[in-house]
């Protein structure tokens, strides 16, 4: 490594340590700034976690877009099997389950609690049913509608029921939330830039004398700016870590009641926190926003400070 590079690195380390020291000397002011940044960052993080958790919690259902094809009661089982077979051959269909009238009745007897009452029936009133699962690429509303019309056209079919409406609605809600997340991230990101820019501006005004002297002894603009950029990076990164801590705290508080709620639905679902990737994005966003806010502010305000001996 060349000597120039070493001294370049040295200067950066010095600037970083100086900025860190300055933040540490004003713990209360620093904490307030970090808190504002953290609050701005925790909102998009929280939305992201909410969307992720909602997806996981409903994971079993979210993909359960299917059609129930009820055949007419007079259709024989052999005919139903044949229909199921031809349905399987159609493109856009992943799986077809045939639930025979007998199987359906047995299940109904077992789970409905009407077992004894059903014994009175002389004949099975239930029809054979085909459970049709479309392929993943055929889950759109249009494809499902096309499938429904395809089955309705069969003379043996009585009713076709799409069990997907609420799933599609749910997915649409998640999509709205995801867009909201992007908007919130953009607005609050601008807020972070403004907060850090303003903090750096005050800092520059406070240290006007020092900046003037530094320029008199030959400090370049980039030298003078460097500690402020590091301060911005520390504010942004620190705010991101604090946002993570807030989110982790919120998850800790929410986890037991959510688990209780999930158990009441017979699920083993547990809240998930941010993944390593989400954390990385969070911290990188904080650092980049902090740097940007500091850069904008320092570049603008340092230019106006020229030594007047």
């Amino acid at each position: 490594m060349s000597l120039g590079l070493v001294s370049y690195g040295t200067r950066h380390v010095q600037a970083l340590l100086a900025s860190l020291g300055r933040l540490a000397r004003n713990p209360f002011a620093t904490l307030l700034t970090l808190l504002v940044i953290a609050l701005a960052l925790v909102v998009p993080l929280g939305l992201e976690l909410f969307v992720t958790n909602a997806r996981i919690a409903t994971g079993g259902f979210a993909n359960a877009v299917d059609l129930s094809v009820y055949l007419k009661t007079d259709v024989a089982l052999a005919k139903a099997e044949q229909l199921a077979k031809s349905a399987r051959a159609r493109p856009g269909i992943a799986r077809v389950e045939l639930i025979s009238a007998d199987a359906a009745l047995a299940e109904f007897r077992a789970y409905s609690g009407f077992g004894a009452a059903l014994g009175v029936l002389s004949a099975n009133p239930l029809p054979h049913v085909l459970h049709v699962h479309p392929t993943a690429d055929a889950e759109s509303a249009e494809s499902l509608e096309a499938l429904r019309r395809y089955f309705v056209a069969w003379p043996e079919v009585d009713v076709v029921q799409i069990d997907a409406q609420w799933v599609m609605r749910f997915n649409a809600i998640l999509e709205v939330l995801r867009r909201l997340l992007i908007i919130a991230a953009a607005i609050l990101g601008a807020g972070v830039i403004a907060v850090i820019g303003n903090t750096i501006r005050l800092e520059i005004l406070n240290r006007r004398g020092e900046i003037e002297v530094t320029k008199i002894v030959g400090g370049s603009n980039s030298f003078v700016r460097r500690p402020f950029l590091y301060a911005g990076i520390l504010y942004g990164g620190g705010g991101a870590l604090l946002a993570w801590a807030i989110a982790a705290g919120a998850i800790t508080v929410l986890a037991p009641p959510v688990a209780t709620l999930a158990r009441s639905y017979g699920s083993h679902y547990a809240l998930v926190g941010p993944t390593a990737q989400e954390l990385l994005i969070l911290i990188a966003s904080g650092v980049i926003l902090g740097w940007l806010g500091a850069w904008l502010s320092a570049t603008k305000h340092l230019r106006s400070i020229e030594p007047r001996a």
Binding site: V6, V213, K215, I216, V217, G218, G219, S220, E306
Partner: protein
């Protein structure tokens, strides 16, 4: 080392700091700028250090025309000039060591080298051992010497001082001037602005007299003795 060729400086508020002034300082010379306050002494120093740019005329420092120097080259240019101020412009919340080290830190000097040179500079001004003191814990004379140590720590070929003895009693003033003389003896060019004519005559060095922004005396190399006497 320094050439002013018909230099005028008009400030934004309309005040004429310097009018058509020509002067020359040779390399290795120690020169005094004298005159009443407001005569243009500080303006000359500001133009030398590029704290101001001339309105008209040419200023050459170390062979470089300052008028055509791009802003981005100013920091490197200033690193070759040590500046001492009347109010010494020390950073009050930083210890003596940090204050003196600033020009070296700015220039990216390695830490070990900084340590060595700051001690050497403090030794030269007689303040070795006070590295950790804050400027306000020092006497006025000591503060001024810290300012001088900061000006010479990077061994600049040119040292300029604006009323360096303005706040000092006569004994301390003489001491500071002797300190400058010692730097001159090792080859540093020195320009000192002062209104303390007695001190100047005592040292018997060349003097450039300014009056209302004009350089007095046709022969700059040998200013008229009579001009010195008028205070």
């Amino acid at each position: 080392m320094i050439v002013f060729d018909r230099v005028s400086k008009r400030y934004a508020n309309g005040r004429e700091g310097l009018s058509n002034a020509s002067l020359r300082v040779e390399e290795g010379e120690m020169v005094f700028l004298t005159g009443r306050s407001g005569a243009g002494k500080s303006t000359v120093l500001k133009l030398i250090a590029l704290l101001e740019r001339p309105t008209r005329g040419v200023v050459i420092v170390g062979g470089k025309k300052t008028g055509s120097l791009a802003s981005r080259h100013i920091p490197a240019f200033r690193r070759r000039i040590g500046i001492v101020f009347q109010d010494h412009k020390l950073l009050p919340e930083r210890p003596v060591f940090d204050n003196v080290a600033l020009p070296l830190v700015v220039a990216g000097t390695p830490l070990k080298e900084i340590d060595k040179r700051v001690r050497a500079a403090l030794d030269q001004v007689g303040l070795l051992g006070r590295e950790r003191a804050l400027p306000l814990e020092l006497s006025v004379g000591e503060q001024q010497r810290v300012g001088i140590a900061r000006a010479v720590v990077s061994k600049p070929p040119l040292l300029i001082a604006d009323e360096p003895t303005g706040n000092l009693d006569p004994d301390l003033a003489v001491e500071v001037m002797r300190l400058f003389k010692r730097f001159q003896e090792v080859g540093v060019t020195i320009v000192v602005a002062t209104h303390d004519v007695h001190l100047v005559r005592e040292l018997g060095l060349r003097e450039i007299v300014l009056d209302h922004g004009h350089v007095q005396g046709a022969d700059k190399e040998d200013p008229l003795p009579g001009m010195v006497a008028t205070r």
